[in-house]
């Protein structure tokens, strides 16, 4: 930041000192993927920011984190995963200053639910949106498809409705089946498998499904459903499966023809954009909100495509990050 600025936040006024660096503390586990995102955030932010990472893989005391934040005049927190959210919640209880402090939450599944206890928070949803997965598969497909079958749990209904709205503009429809809506909250993996078995034929006959999308959800895909249902039934009918779980395209499992994961490097860039938007443009955290992850890294299992007779658009395969032959 080159000049002093007064930023109006949802909780009041925060004075930003022109001469000082904007110090940000990142609460992050030590795993490589978290490091990748924090490094990417650091490299996207200019030299007027300093990111101090605290490894939360080891036990940390709330008062120690609070003291460290106070010492370097921390202006914001970057919070990564649920353990970090718990620490941030404890910080809020420990010192009121943390209630007002902006918080950016990344790499957390169901982030809006997980970060419900945090005030003044924005971030990025970590799940690859259904829209992104489906449309990116269409771009590389020569075989056309219009209907996507998906099994999901009740808590995923909002995401399904959002995807239906967005995909309708791409002239693609979803054919969703809820696997736990009847036994809300008490559904076992075996119950879910039973729902999938029973509804599969009806899904194909009544509304149709040209491809199936497997969400990253152990109620829908697990050891018992993988072999019997997904490989034994869906793949056997030569229906392509796309997933937001990279491992499903691995030759050892060989279920998904196409998968997409968040591109962690670009996730860091998207996060840095949010942080700069808040500090430099004065965009309120409420306006930043919890955005969907934008950039993906995709995998194509070409041998599955051949096996099920799915034609690919050779001219578009350059956009795939990893091709399994």
């Amino acid at each position: 930041m080159k000049t002093a600025a007064i930023i109006i936040t949802t909780v009041g006024l925060v004075f930003v000192n022109a001469s000082a660096k904007t110090n940000i503390v990142a609460l992050q586990p030590s795993d490589a993927q978290f490091q990748t995102v924090v490094s990417s955030i650091q490299s996207e932010l200019d030299t007027s920011y300093h990111v101090d990472a605290i490894d939360i893989s080891k036990p940390v005391k709330t008062e120690d984190v609070a003291a460290r934040c106070k010492k370097n005049e921390t202006k914001a927190l970057i919070i990564m995963d649920r353990q970090a959210i718990k620490i941030a919640e404890a910080l809020q209880k420990f010192d009121n200053a943390f209630v007002a402090m902006p918080k950016f939450v990344y790499m957390t599944l169901l982030v809006e639910v997980s970060a419900k206890g945090l005030s003044n928070a924005a971030g990025i949803r970590f799940e690859v949106p259904i829209y992104t997965l489906v449309t990116n598969f269409r771009i590389i497909s020569q075989t056309e498809f219009l209907k996507v079958g998906i099994f999901h749990r009740k808590s995923y209904t909002g995401a399904i409705e959002e995807a239906e709205k967005l995909l309708s503009k791409e002239q693609i429809s979803l054919n969703p089946v809820c696997v736990d809506c009847e036994k809300n909250g008490k559904t076992t993996q075996s119950d879910a498998l039973s729902v999938m078995r029973k509804s599969f034929d009806a899904m194909l006959k009544e509304h149709g499904a040209d491809i199936f999308l497997v969400p990253a959800d152990n109620l829908v895909v697990n050891n018992s459903s993988l072999g019997e249902f997904w490989i034994g039934t869906v793949k056997k009918k030569n229906l392509p499966v796309i997933a937001s779980l990279d491992m499903l395209a691995n030759p050892s499992i060989a279920l998904a023809v196409f998968t997409a994961d968040p591109d962690l490097q670009q996730l860091g860039a998207q996060a840095a954009n949010q942080i700069m938007g808040f500090f430099e443009n004065g965009t309120p955290l409420g306006d930043i909100g919890f955005e969907p992850v934008i950039s993906i890294k995709s995998t194509l299992n070409e041998s599955i495509a051949k096996e099920i007779g799915w034609k690919l658009n050779a001219g578009k395969l350059g956009r795939i990050n990893k091709i399994v032959k």
Partner: protein, 209 residues
């Protein structure tokens, strides 16, 4: 030094240049920020980047201007997926663009060519992310070159509309040298780059300036 953000093909360009100019003689970057860092340590190095980069940077002379087909420049387009987006309300909307110039220059570029200050500019490093931004409604509009727009149209059934075109044409990639530091030998080498390398840079040939 080379920096053509958006394509994520840095390794291919690097390997092409290693073969053309020699191992260790070139550096390819995927982000303008990294190019700027390297410029500080090698201020006299020749650069291949968007022509606009040199316009806003100053101190460089373009020796070779990239061509696509017969054209050495083209329009940039402000594209939306909703008819509610207009030039009257665009300044308050979220607009996505590939960051081919760096944070400060990209705002100057938009102001100069579209006459507007966008408050919520969403800079992306990958071209393909722009369509995703529109599709998931993370951006209300995107700014793309007419060449990128053709590619986007082939990838979507979204009802895209062109809200505005840039006030004038914008140059493609250019090979520039520090003013007064012409290097004819290097210029000739770059001029003879194979079609495969030019394609990675996003052009089909060079025009001598």
């Amino acid at each position: 030094m080379v920096c053509i953000p958006g394509k994520q093909n840095t390794p291919s360009i690097q390997s092409g240049l290693d073969g053309l100019v020699g191992q260790g003689k070139t550096l390819v970057f995927g982000r303008i920020k990294d190019l700027e860092g390297a410029m500080a340590t090698a201020p006299d190095a020749a650069i291949i980047a968007s022509e606009s980069f040199f316009k806003y940077t100053g101190g460089y002379t373009i020796a070779l201007a990239g061509k696509m087909g017969g054209a050495s420049s083209g329009k940039y387009l402000l594209v939306a997926a909703s008819k509610e987006i207009t030039m009257d309300n665009i300044k308050d909307k979220k607009v996505g663009i590939v960051d081919f110039l760096g944070k400060e220059r990209i705002s100057l570029f938009i102001k100069e060519y579209f006459g507007v200050d966008i408050k919520m500019l969403k800079r992306a490093n990958k071209e393909e992310d722009l369509l995703t931004m529109l599709g998931i409604e993370a951006a209300d509009a995107i700014i793309v070159s007419n060449f990128q727009y053709k590619e986007i149209l082939s990838n979507t059934k979204l009802p895209l509309t062109i809200v505005a075109s840039s006030s004038s044409n914008v140059g493609l990639a250019g090979f520039a040298v520090r003013s007064g530091k012409a290097d004819e030998k290097l210029k000739k080498t770059i001029q003879n780059a194979p079609a495969s390398l030019l394609k990675e840079i996003g052009i089909t040939g060079w025009e001598v300036r």
